[in-house]
Point group: C2
Chain length 252, copies 2
């Protein structure tokens, strides 16, 4: 009975939390968006009546959450700039909690299965609306629709020389699949899941030996999406994941 509700439910907020709240307030109130700059650390400290270290801790939190990125030096790009990188936070979150055994590999794999089935069905049901993703997600993909990148990834996997290389393109394939659904939140989660499973995936490929079956699955998924057959797409994904992760990860 010693450790019972040991949080800080009340407790007056710490200085950096106040800074955090004020910065967030400023973001929503002033309508700040990606690319805008925050005041310098010293200036912010003075404005909010706190020490610079408290400001720094708040900025560190925001950086962890993928909301700001700091750059030293001078000029338009220096200082704390608002960004939008939720992916790193999710990746760190998964890695650390997997390390702490808070999450099991099985749970991560099941989550991935859920996302991919959903994304495949969704991508098949809704054809790419002209310019793929509306907002800034992957600025590099202009003429590249997600399905086209899936096809490229399949070809690259055919040409891959070793398991590690195969997995890299496999990651690209499944990421493109998630992006095809056009949901940035799910894309970010998918990216984090794949990062967490990267090593695991290499082992799986090595264990299988032959990647022919996997490639057959990939082609079937791709075709089902292009044909607009949501049911077939989801089924193909389920088969594929079952082949890649056959009941493994029964730990915990």
């Amino acid at each position: 009975m010693t450790t019972e509700e040991r949080r800080r439910p009340d407790a007056r907020p710490r200085a950096f939390e106040e800074v955090l709240a004020r910065i967030e307030e400023r973001i929503t109130a002033d309508g700040l968006t990606v690319g805008d700059r925050l005041p310098g650390e010293r200036q912010l400290a003075e404005q909010l009546g706190v020490g610079r270290s408290s400001v720094r801790e708040a900025l560190r939190v925001l950086e962890t959450l993928g909301v700001v990125a700091s750059q030293a030096g001078r000029g338009p790009d220096a200082g704390a700039v608002l960004t939008s990188r939720p992916g790193n936070a999710l990746t760190d979150l998964l890695r650390l909690h997997l390390g702490l055994a808070t999450l099991s590999m099985r749970e991560v794999i099941d989550t991935r299965l859920m996302i991919e089935q959903w994304a495949a069905a969704r991508a098949a049901a809704a054809p790419p609306p002209a310019a793929s993703t509306p907002a800034a997600s992957t600025p590099a993909a202009s003429a590249h629709t997600a399905t086209a990148r899936m096809a490229e990834a399949i070809a690259a996997m055919d040409a891959a020389g070793d398991p590690a290389e195969f997995v890299e393109h496999d990651i690209a394939f499944h990421l493109a699949l998630a992006e095809a659904a056009g949901n940035r939140l799910i894309t970010a989660v998918m990216r984090a899941l794949r990062d967490a499973l990267r090593r695991y995936a290499v082992d799986a490929v090595v264990r299988l030996g032959d990647t022919g079956g996997l490639q057959d699955d990939h082609r079937r998924i791709h075709r089902a999406i292009e044909d607009g057959d949501a049911g077939a797409a989801a089924a193909a994904v389920a088969e594929h994941l079952a082949r890649a992760y056959p009941e493994s990860g029964r730990d915990s």
Copy 2:
């Protein structure tokens, strides 16, 4: 072309990043787990050859990710203790990126739909294995299986006096639904989604006026899960979410 790849891809790591790596290394290497204590900030600083402020920034990051919790004072519970609260990080992540317009409400709602359909089907397919959740998720739920809590939430919604109260129990219902699937990662994501949508949900209830339809849905979902009918459970969830969020959230 001014802002092109402005990250810090190389750049020698900052001190707090080194601290972060060493702490994570220690966690995995020494097999530290929830409840274990880290050395004090001063001691850690000396061990790693950095200033205390760098240690503090690293701890702030870990706290943001829900891996440690710090407590002042003295005694067994003081200091930085390893915890496991991935939920807060996800909630903050969603809230901030919604504020930055990196994510749209529609994307969040669609993600929620995906999770609930999956969870309902999963919960229906796999009956509760005796003691619901194995690890520490909601320590209060000992004799309470997830489905039992769903029934309780339905009753509480019937008795609710105002929309805010109704939504609170609605949240409990949907959280129990997610927990019924027995995946802690998905439960954590679901909790974050609901927190992000809380205000939105109240508006939706007020707009609907009558909560009878929602309650019918809730009962149908609950019954389908108890009957083990995965298809009916998923369909009921889809209908329910369509009723609650009818094409709204078309922003961005």
